[in-house]
């Protein structure tokens, strides 16, 4: 077991010397000779400056700035969607944890604010909470700093450079606007603060509301002239910011600034920062309405000259009744991709999950997750829609809605709205086309492209009582009120043996009717019910298959002169907005802006008794929740308590 050592003795001394020398030199050489041993990072490791060396990289940064646009096509991230009283979902929150809805139920807190876009928490940061808005603004500023420097991105064409800068200025303005709408006065970040800034430098202050408005308006003014009027390269640029969009957002901004919540609101009279500067101007300024009207008109002109117009359904190969075609006009105005009234549609937020959560289960095949029908409209929203005569249900002198919760059987004439011979509530009869286009209910018709009859005769209808197909049978996928949201579901939705397909659509951030109504509202406030006020409201009513305001009220209303006064017309415009822009996340902002929330959001949420099987039991009104809106606290978002701790210069909103 001995190893043979091959070395011979005569080699010994040489080896000895060799090893010794080697070892000594190792000691002496290893250390100093390898000074560069630790320099392992090669050149060309990506740094931020690489983003602005060439056009293709800079374009990525442009898209980065876009990527923060709120995902309003998703009911979880559209702040206005569930935070108010327009929509309600089942208590189980099954696959649908919406912090907006928790807010609606009084869960908002300053400790952990919901829909906290400031930090990007609790769904305020979009999917994965990745898109906090101050991060967006920082990216916009980085982009502007670099691209405005003409020594950078040398291969960028000058016209493109101008346009890109304008787009990012718009985005920067929009992100500020989004914050302003939620929080009121905000810190304005016109220039980025360096990462290595000291504690004192990073402690920004909230700026007075009017300064914020002026700052944002100025940015939009800078951006608008350099934005294209229309997108010419539709295949690769549709969805990018255009001049009509910028002007529409400016109109929105100024309308908000003119509205009662922010214009002379005495609730905020004493709201000052630590240095005693008032953050709100507490005196009412009528000229703000004037400015808002001018801005809205400018937006309308820009949009119309860019070819935007109210959408009408072009027809189809199926033979359909006029009633159904009118329905499709109204439904597709919302869901048809890039249609003629989508002034701003955002392809980065496409309505897909939204459709799934709105769609009732109409066929027995398929998984329950395919059509979840969780989004439900409370009864007060169903009652908001006009009668078929185009006036509110409590004003119609020819149609009696005093017995609105009683049961009636549908006649043959009504078969395109309610299944013939089906019993449903009085409320669901004799309503305006938008009622049937936006909502469906137990007995309601739901025409789709895959209608088994290939026509609107004998097509899908909803059976919504307990144990029925669309009833509240599943533990979490059901409709809490009995009113299903048809408006947001594209009519090409298909059930097949392979499952279910929803045709998504880029979320329409701004539809033309929105701008029309902004103009009408602002003009009515500044000038009273002048011709243009009627004109723009009537355009919308006409498209909705209704008589114009003047005729409808004169003929059918028990308050026939209502439209002639500023106050009466204000109410009409408010209701028109509520109907036309229903289920798009607008109502919440409007009610707040009009300072009507204390009244509106304190009414109970009611619906049908969806856990009942018998018709008579089902059509009993059930109180689902009693909302509690605390004014003025709940008008503005709370700043996160921690943010105030970190930055003592910030001041909390009143009441929080």
């Amino acid at each position: 077991m001995k190893l043979n050592v091959v070395l011979k003795t005569k080699n010994k001394s040489r080896l000895l010397r060799g090893t010794s020398l080697f070892l000594l030199s190792a000691i002496l050489l290893v250390f100093p000779a390898c000074k560069r041993y630790l320099d392992i990072v090669p050149d060309n490791v990506a740094t931020i400056s690489n983003a602005f060396t060439m056009r293709t990289e800079a374009e990525k940064y442009l898209f980065t700035c876009y990527s923060f646009l709120p995902r309003d096509g998703d009911p979880l991230y559209n702040v206005g969607y569930l935070a108010g009283d327009e929509l309600w979902i089942p208590t189980q929150e099954w696959d649908f944890l919406s912090y907006g809805w928790r807010m609606a139920r009084g869960g908002q807190s300053a400790a952990n604010p919901y829909l906290d876009v400031w930090n990007g928490y609790y769904q305020g940061g979009g999917p994965g909470d990745n898109y906090g808005l101050f991060k967006a603004i920082r990216n916009c500023n980085i982009f502007l700093e670099n691209v405005q420097d003409e020594t950078k991105v040398r291969d960028l064409r000058p016209d493109e450079r101008v346009r890109w800068i304008a787009e990012v200025k718009f985005l920067k303005a929009y992100y500020h606007f989004y914050l302003l709408r939620m929080y009121g006065p905000i810190p304005l970040v016109d220039k980025n603060i360096d990462v290595s800034a000291t504690e004192a430098e990073v402690r920004v202050k909230r700026m007075p509301f009017d300064d914020c408005v002026n700052f944002i308006a100025a940015l939009l003014d800078e951006a608008a002239p350099n934005l294209p009027a229309i997108i010419t390269d539709r295949s690769s640029e549709l969805g990018r910011i255009t001049r009509p969009i910028a002007l529409a957002i400016k109109a929105k901004l100024l309308l908000m600034a003119a509205s009662p919540l922010f214009n002379g609101n005495s609730d905020y009279a004493g709201f000052k920062d630590h240095e005693g500067i008032s953050l709100f101007n507490s005196s009412f300024d009528a000229s703000k309405w004037k400015k808002a009207a001018t801005a809205a008109k400018a937006a309308i002109d820009a949009a119309e000259s860019a070819g935007f117009s109210l959408y009408t359904f072009p027809g189809t190969t199926f033979k359909l009744s006029d009633t159904t075609l009118q329905q499709l006009t109204l439904r597709c105005a919302m869901t048809e991709r890039w249609n003629s009234e989508h002034v701003w549609a955002n392809p980065n937020s496409r309505a897909d999950f939204l459709q799934r959560t709105a769609m009732p289960k109409l066929v027995s095949t398929g998984a329950s997750g395919d059509a979840r029908m969780q989004l439900a409209a409370p009864l007060k929203i169903a009652e908001l829609f006009y009668t078929r005569n185009g006036v509110p249900i409590n004003e119609d002198k020819t149609l009696d809605f005093s017995n609105k919760y009683s049961i009636r059987t549908a006649t043959r004439n009504e078969r395109f709205y309610v299944k013939e011979g089906y019993q449903t509530a009085r409320l669901n009869f004799d309503r305006e086309p938008r009622f049937y286009a936006d909502l469906s209910f137990d007995g309601g018709i739901w025409y789709k492209y895959d209608s088994p009859s290939n026509s609107d005769e004998g097509t899908y209808s909803i059976e919504g009582k307990y144990t029925q197909m669309s009833g509240a049978t599943h533990v979490g996928y059901y409709n809490e009120t009995g009113y299903y949201i048809k408006k947001v579901v594209d009519w090409n939705m298909v059930n097949s043996s392979n499952g279910v397909t929803y045709r998504d659509y880029p979320w329409p951030e701004i539809r033309l009717p929105d701008i029309y109504l902004m103009y009408a509202e602002a003009l009515n406030e500044s000038d009273g019910p002048v011709a243009d006020v009627y004109e723009y409201v009537n355009r919308i009513r006409k498209r909705a298959g209704l008589m114009n305001v003047q005729d409808a009220w004169t003929t059918y209303s028990n308050n026939p002169t209502k439209y002639t006064t500023k106050d009466g017309m204000r109410e009409i415009i408010h209701q028109e907005r509520g109907i036309e822009l229903a289920f798009e996340g607008n109502r919440y902002w409007d009610i707040r802006r009009w300072k009507k929330a204390a009244e509106t959001f304190n009414q109970p949420i009611t619906g049908w008794s969806v856990f009942q099987q018998a018709t008579t039991d089902y059509y009993r009104v059930r109180t689902i929740f009693s909302q509690n809106f605390v004014a003025p606290r709940d008008y503005l978002w709370p700043l996160r308590t921690y943010d105030l701790t970190v930055n003592p210069n910030l001041i909390q909103n009143p009441g929080w």
Binding site: L16, V30, A46, T47, R203, V204
Partner: protein
């Protein structure tokens, strides 16, 4: 007889015909299997051992370079056989060891060598050598705090060395959270946690100078270890510079010793079972309480179980229709059997010597295997390793050491999964989790094949949940497939030592280099089970309906009869290392002992699948370290150490750091004035050290180069889409780190005072007290508000912490004249920490409890649970809890928290420090051995104190649908919960619920438990076969023993083993009963 056969087999093998070779092979197998033996030219030696006063019983006699040995009997006599060129080492505590060569003696007339030895009292063990950083030092001259423990103490019936650390090493805090083979490594920290943040907190592990992972240490065999040392203070670890701040574990493996070839063999078979299984309530109770849970939260709820079903189950009717499962019993075996083998061979001649060792360990899991499949779904971890250490004397003054080590894990087990954080969990833990996360009454595990005679796949039971999905059938999950992983570590190491005495005496030089390759891959094969549900036919027979055949109406994943394959992750990395050193040690005028060492090191580490460009760049360290020691007259000692280290992670200006340390020692017992005391206090040494050490492994794994920003130029998250058909998409840009050139390593200033005492020649006491101040701890800057819009945290070296504590070890050894000997040992580690600077905002005046400063590093913040709400009304009239809505999200019977800051809402701001740290502050162990003649019994207790853990309430929340599964009911919850009839506001469990109640799942005092325990860690009863018999068997020694670990535990916590902490639903820590034989020859 056997001996003869073997001798024949071996001696005549070369002349045999091939047919006989097979026979020889069989003989060899017999030889190994029976642990029997042979020897060459052995001679018998006997004699007595004595000191100046008389014979010494219990003195140890060892054959040098082996584990073989014996001890003297009552009369101080011994008897041993060894090779005639062998040497015997005589040792006894309190005496100087003595070595004699048999060759120096003459045979007597009986052919026996009689060697009588006189041992001298040992005043101080001057010549014992201690292992220190990059070398060795005379033990007496060491001033730093180093714990060395005998490898013997690390031996136990386990194939995981780390599980033996707790309570045995003074200065080491350790605990083991899981008993799953392959995932049972204990966590350990030297002197507790010294830092926080996401960087490295555990020690640097060096095995033969090779930087190793915890897993490498786990796989190391105690048999192969020659010394195990823990470097605890700055003087000990400063030479490791920027890598030594968390302490260093230094392990050396054995080297060969010239002499005849020696074999040593150990075979163990052990029975292992769970220390504790959680207990389920019976299923009638389960269903009744499930109904209660549904009703108590929603009076209109549909009852999950009909009374008829409950009655039928209670009556024990057909279990196929009325299933009544106890998943733990159905999935988990009562015990499993493991085997361990270790064989090592050493020997050599004047030119070269070798130590070769092979190990084969088989650890089985406790999962049941079903005959339904021909594959084994139980856990089987086969671990084998080969180690070869060869020393070659190239010249009289040059030595080369070549070490080759290969370590291989072959694992096979049930298909694993991922936890809620996306971290991979092994199959064993998954099965244990699913045992409680599965409904026990909806379906049987599997239907008898006779119910569907033509089906070729197992008929697993299942049912459809209210959500139109399938339940989880844990049995099917367990047997449906298996996953495998293979991990290999290969190391080759070359060391050259050159004595440079021809330049000047005492000078020598050394160079060492190693290359290490690690590879890992995993994969799994599984089929998708077909599930059936049973219905009773009108004729009373049972009909089966398949639930997932595919197609319309099929629920869940469609079943397959064939196995699907999925490829798992792969890890590859390589390390190259080079060090070169010169040493100088000399004593002048017999009084001035001078020592010096200078070393340079380089290390390069490269990962094959780092995941990003920056991480893919090699990790490098470079350093120059040195040591200077001076001792005067074995009384006064001084030592200076330094490390000058660089790490590629930091900016050029901050790349190198200097880490000096110095220490002083005073051997009081060598003073002349101490002589009168030396009868009682045999030796006394005082030590003091102070120095600076660093830690460059800071921050998250992804943060390599703090001085550079990291930009993802292709981030899918921040891209955007445009175009009519959404056709134009571009990724965006994400800054994931902002550059900060000032970031550098953590610094740890360490002070240590120690004393070593020996009293009455029997008691050894070592005590060390220390204080470490860690500064430059990396954390995020909290003063940066979110209005800055930064997408990554800004980090800086701002935080500071201090840790201090005591390590104590006490040994008592005594041999009595009648052959009885007692050895006891105990050790105690107390390590506490305190945060000194913590980057946190300025809280409001009444929220001062939120500050971390002054608290231990591992402190938990949580809510104060007052009790359960009496009813919904109380909930509505109490401060709002989190974001829940009282009466809706929480109410009567749910946990009521204290509104500490009084703002009317329970939120983050109400979290206060609660409990002890999660890492125990005290770890202790004590035990001893009593021996008499050939028998010995030893027992060892191990304990842990001052720690808290928190029950993960979601894991045990009964009836909750949790990721497609529905939770079972622990009997403890069935026995104690709030109910409307029994409003016990201090019950173990809040009001039952069919869904998670967020309010009750917070970290709070409600779920806080005391982590203290005292465990009977091990017991061993052994018998050393008498030397006469051993001789007959031609062996040097033979030991037969029975031992066990984790035999009992004392703790106030009863739901599961307290060492497992808050997540007790994993694979339990194992109790092991073991029978072993070890032999050397």
């Amino acid at each position: 007889m056997k001996k003869k056969l073997l001798q024949r087999g071996l001696f005549y093998s070369s002349a045999r015909k091939p047919r006989s070779v097979f026979k020889i092979f069989i003989y060899c197998i017999l030889l190994l299997g029976s642990t029997s033996v042979f020897a060459q030219e052995n001679v018998n030696v006997r004699g007595t051992v004595s000191d100046t006063t008389g014979t010494l019983p219990g003195a140890s006699i060892k054959i040098s370079g082996t584990n073989r040995g014996t001890s003297t009997d009552v009369n101080g006599r011994y008897n041993i056989s060894l090779h005639k060129s062998g040497r015997l080492l005589f040792t006894m505590i309190g005496y100087k060891p003595r070595t004699v060569s048999v060759a120096d003696y003459e045979k007597n007339s009986e052919g026996v060598y009689v060697i009588n030895v006189k041992l001298q009292n040992d005043d101080n063990s001057l010549n014992e050598v201690a292992v220190v950083g990059f070398g060795t030092q005379k033990k007496a001259s060491v001033v730093s705090s180093i714990t060395s423990i005998s490898p013997k103490e690390l031996k136990g019936p386990t194939s995981n060395l780390t599980t033996m650390i707790a309570g045995r090493v003074a200065g080491m805090i350790a605990y083991q959270r899981s008993g799953e083979p392959g995932a049972d490594n204990a966590q350990f920290f030297i002197r507790g946690l010294g830092t926080f943040g996401s960087g490295k907190v555990d020690p640097l592990i060096l095995i033969d100078g090779i930087e190793s992972t915890q897993n490498d240490l786990a796989r190391l065999q105690a048999d192969d270890i020659s010394s195990f040392n823990v470097l605890k203070d700055a003087t000990a670890s400063a030479v490791y510079g920027a890598r030594g701040a968390n302490g260093v574990v230094l392990v050396l493996t054995k080297s060969g010793v010239a002499g005849i070839t020696k074999f040593s063999f150990r075979a163990e078979t052990s029975v292992s079972s769970n220390t504790k299984n959680f207990q389920f309530a019976d299923n009638v109770t389960y269903m009744k309480l499930a109904n209660e849970a549904a009703l108590t939260r929603d009076p209109l709820a549909i009852l999950p179980y009909l009374q008829t079903k409950i009655d039928a189950t209670a009556a024990g009717e057909n279990p196929l229709l009325y299933p009544d499962n106890n998943w733990i019993k159905q999935l988990i075996k009562d015990y499993t059997i493991n085997n361990r083998y270790n064989l090592n061979i050493s020997g050599g001649g004047s030119k070269a010597s070798y130590y070769v060792a092979g190990t084969y360990n088989i650890d089985n899991g406790a999962l049941k295997v079903d005959g339904l499949n021909n594959f084994n779904n139980n856990i089987k971890l086969k671990n084998y390793s080969v180690r070869s250490n060869v020393n070659i004397n190239l010249t009289n003054t040059t030595e080369a050491i070549i070490r080759v080590y290969g370590q291989f894990d072959d694992y096979s087990g049930p298909v694993g999964g991922y936890d809620s954080n996306g971290k991979r969990i092994n199959g064993g833990q998954k099965i244990f989790n699913q045992a409680i996360w599965s409904n026990p009454v909806m379906f049987p595990a599997v239907y008898p094949a006779s119910l569907s005679p033509f089906t070729t796949h197992p008929l697993f039971g299942n049912a459809i949940t209210p959500f139109n999905t399938l339940y989880v059938n844990p049995y099917a999950e367990m047997v449906k497939g298996y996953s495998q992983y293979n991990a290999s570590t290969l190391q080759t190491q070359l060391e050259l030592k050159q004595d440079l005495k021809f330049i000047t005496p005492g000078l020598n030089a050394r160079m060492m280099s190693y290359a290490r390759r690690y590879s890992y891959f995993d994969l799994s094969r599984e089929y998708s089970p077909f599930y059936y549900s049973a219905t009773e036919q009108p004729d009373g027979s049972i009909g089966l309906q398949v639930l997932n055949p595919g197609g319309i109406g099929s629920v869940g994943a469609t079943g397959t009869e064939y196995l699907n394959y999925s490829e798992g992750s792969k890890q590859l990395n390589s390390t190259f290392y080079l060090e070169a050193a010169v040493n100088y040690n000399r004593t002048f005028s017999e009084k001035h002992a001078v020592g010096a060492m200078l070393i340079t090191t380089m290390r390069n580490y490269l990962s094959g699948n780092a995941g990003s460009l920056q991480l893919s760049l090699p990790s490098r360290n470079q350093g120059l370290s040195g040591r200077a020691t001076y001792g005067y007259d074995n009384r006064y000692l001084a030592e200076f150490n330094f490390g000058y280290n660089g790490s590629e992670r930091f900016s050029k200006d901050d790349r190198f750091g200097f880490f000096p340390s110095f220490g002083l020692g005073y051997i009081v017992s060598n003073e002349s004035f101490f002589k009168p005391l030396s009868k009682v206090i045999n030796s006394l040494k005082l030590r003091a050290t102070y120095g600076l050490v660093g830690n460059d492994q800071i921050g998250a794994d992804g943060d390599r180069f703090f001085y550079m920003s990291e930009v993802n130029m292709n981030s899918g998250t921040y891209g955007a889409t445009f175009g009519e058909q959404y056709g134009y998409y571009k990724n965006g840009v994400l800054v994931s780190r902002y550059a900060n050139p000032l970031i550098t390593w953590e610094r740890s200033k360490q002070v240590n005072f120690g004393a070593d005492l020996k009293i009455l020649n029997a008691i050894d006491l070592t005590i060390d007290i220390y204080k470490n101040s860690r500064s430059n701890i990396l954390t995020g800057r909290t003063y940066i508000p979110s209005t800055m819009g930064l997408q990554a945290a800004v980090q800086a070296n701002t935080n500071k912490a201090e840790s201090k504590g005591v390590d104590l070890s006490l040994n008592y050894n005594k041999s009595f004249a009648n052959g009885l000997f007692i050895q006891t040992r105990g050790n105690f580690t107390y390590a506490t920490s305190k945060i000194l600077i913590y980057d946190e905002p300025t809280y409001n005046g009444n929220e001062s409890y939120r500050y971390h400063v002054g608290l231990p590093i591992d402190q938990t913040f949580g809510y104060i649970a007052e009790r359960l709400f009496i009813d919904d009304n109380e909930a509505k009239n109490s401060p709002l809890q989190f974001s829940g809505i009282p009466g809706v999200n929480y109410g009567g019977g749910d946990i009521k928290y204290r509104d500490v800051n009084g703002d009317g809402i329970i939120s983050d701001a109400d979290m206060v420090p609660i409990g002890y740290p999660k890492t125990p502050e005290i770890i202790y162990g004590f035990g001893g051995t009593i021996g008499y003649k050939g028998f010995d019994i030893s027992a060892f207790f191990q304990g842990s104190a001052r720690s808290s853990f928190f029950i993960n309430s979601q894991n045990i929340a009964p009836f909750v649908y949790n990721q497609g599964s529905q939770n079972g009911l622990l009997s403890a919850i069935a026995d104690s919960h709030w109910s409307e009839e029994n409003r016990n506001t201090y019950a173990l469990w809040p009001r039952l619920s069919p869904v998670f109640v967020d309010n009750n799942d917070k970290t709070s005092t409600w779920w806080m438990r005391n982590g203290n325990f005292l465990r009977l860690k091990s017991v061993e009863i052994g018998y050393n076969v008498s030397s006469r018999l051993v001789k007959k068997l031609a062996m040097n020694s033979l030991r037969i023993y029975v031992n066990g670990t984790n035999l009992g535990v004392i703790s106030s916590y009863k739901l599961w083993d307290p060492e497992m902490g808050g997540n007790g639903l994993g694979y339990p820590v194992q109790s092991v009963y073991n029978i072993g034989v070890s032999a050397s020859f």
